[in-house]
Symmetry: C2
């Protein structure tokens, strides 16, 4: 049975959201076993409020919490019994298969770095992110691609980019049921010589990989289009790209609302389009995906959004279950070794 | 009188577009003097087809053309009499004030680098680009901000970023009639310590500049919002950001069209919204802006889009006229010297 360790204190909404999400998952037919880590009294109180399968849930007490706005290093140094560290240790010890947390991204990543081992040949970790796309992919016809790194490794070397590509492909294969995901480097031109030296060198090495479905460089316009299933870039660019996509969506929504308030004609037009707009919003709703992977370690961590509701936590736990059941770590290890 | 040198061979559409654009500008009340550089016979033939003010146009023959897809270095080495080089020399010699070209960006930039001198303390050049924004700015209420570098200097140092910020502010001040444009560095967080070392160092130095209106770091979501009048970043990030914005707009248009073809309800909604959609498309239409500046030299160059029509060329010539009449070079020099 798959076993997940959930940092129950890690969301802005606290145990009310994390425990409710876990309780809902525990009632599913193929539910994993869930260890909820945090303030035991608070967790028990929330469990009492939510229908759940008691035989699939255990509670492990951890007295300390990392504040969302803390400096990760200082916060973890001062709190060896913080819920995220205790949960990570359960995974490292083999008592659970995957760590799930909606805590401060820096603190969660640092907890992984201090508790797990790195995969062979991986120097730095990457955070995956989900980008809504026009094209669909895989058996589930998913309207999104995976972009990594989303902000952990600002200035990656060619080695880092190669590792991100291989780990990202292994993840996409499992999550989108896509047997041969296409992988691309993000650059300022399609030609192999385009981009800074690390991108050019990574291009040459990925092109020589025996099994990876590497399609070369993609450019900025390929991100919303969805030309590649996995888009590889550094954390500085990845962070800017992702926040810009959020910003464009916010700007379009605000502009549309203002137009509707100004003229009846526009209000009527927006009303007619509302089912389509709702569908687009569903596709671009991060709560739908629930969580994204922190890749680079010999243990898995699914990072849920800091503002996760119960629904987002449920979805993050489902993603974590899939990664455990499909042996993502084994898949990443094999791809990294085939690099030669 | 302002004098512009136009590379008449530089557009994908050739002299038919460039000469028609120049002819239209020559008829305006406050028209600049225009030197059209290229194949004299072709240019004369096009002039004969378009109403123009003959006393404001002269033709300078240049027999060679740089192909749009050529390697800039090889193309210019092999063609010392290419139209873009001949036109740049007219500007360097003081026979014209500004170079305007719709040619291959790399070749135009290299022609500037080989013909003009760099401004004191500027090591590398930047290409400005215009980004449509939700907020408006300046006396003209312009719905766009300036982003630089758009692709010339992939991996800038802190020195480069500081120079880009000062030159960009001088440009925005003149083009948007914005007496004190706000300038920001693009980074992965608002805090001064966020970003790779070059961004962090540039932040400290820009914050200490005596006259610049530096507002700190902006993030990806601030680009479509338009939080800053001038957004400073490296050419790798700038290229990806700009192409992604184009891509998002294409994806939205394609998705809307497909929805309209599928359901009458959506077709009706889109029809009702069409005046607003048309207005947004006008704002995001590059032909409207005509040209963007190549900054870093003691002479000016306005680069028009490779697919420029006559209208785009006219607008590029108008932008070039403004930069000459408002002494952009003097303004940039003063800002660079105040850096200390």
């Amino acid at each position: 049975m798959t076993r997940l360790a959930l940092d129950a204190m890690g969301s802005d909404l606290g145990p009310a959201a994390t425990v409710a999400g876990a309780a809902a998952v525990s009632l599913r037919d193929d539910a994993p076993h869930l260890t909820l880590v945090g303030d035991a009294a608070l967790i028990q109180a929330e469990l009492a409020r939510n229908a759940h399968a008691a035989d699939r849930i255990r509670v492990v007490h951890a007295p300390a919490v990392v504040p969302m706005d803390a400096s990760p290093r200082e916060a973890l140094d001062a709190r060896p019994d913080a819920s995220v560290l205790v949960a990570a240790r359960l995974v490292a010890n083999g008592e659970a298969d995957v760590l799930v947390s909606a805590g401060n991204t820096g603190a969660v990543t640092l907890a992984c770095a201090r508790t797990f081992a790195r995969l062979p040949g991986v120097a730095r970790a990457a955070l995956g992110a989900v980008v809504p796309t026009e094209l669909r992919r895989g058996e589930r016809r998913d309207p999104f691609s995976l972009l990594l790194d989303a902000g952990l490794t600002l200035d990656p070397t060619a080695d880092d980019l190669v590792a991100f590509a291989l780990m990202g492909a292994a993840y996409a294969e499992r999550i989108s049921k896509n047997p041969r995901p296409s992988v691309a480097l993000l650059s300022n031109g399609a030609e192999p010589g385009k981009g800074p030296p690390a991108v050019v060198e990574a291009h040459a090495r990925l092109a020589a990989h025996p099994t990876l479905h590497f399609i070369g460089n993609v450019e900025g316009m390929d991100i919303p289009r969805g030309t590649a299933d996995v888009v590889v870039t550094g954390g500085f660019v990845g962070n800017i790209v992702l926040k810009m996509l959020e910003g464009v969506s916010d700007t379009v929504m605000r502009t549309a609302r203002a137009a509707g308030e100004r003229r009846w004609r526009y209000a009527a037009g927006l009303w007619l389009l509302s089912p389509a707009i709702r569908r687009v919003r569903q596709v671009t709703d991060w709560q739908q995906y629930g969580g994204v992977p922190i890749l680079g370690f010999d243990r898995l961590c699914i990072k849920a959004h800091g503002r996760s509701t119960a629904r987002a936590i449920s979805n993050a736990l489902k993603v974590a279950t899939i990664t455990a059941r499909t042996d993502l770590v084994g898949g990443m290890r094999a791809a990294l070794e085939a690099r030669g």
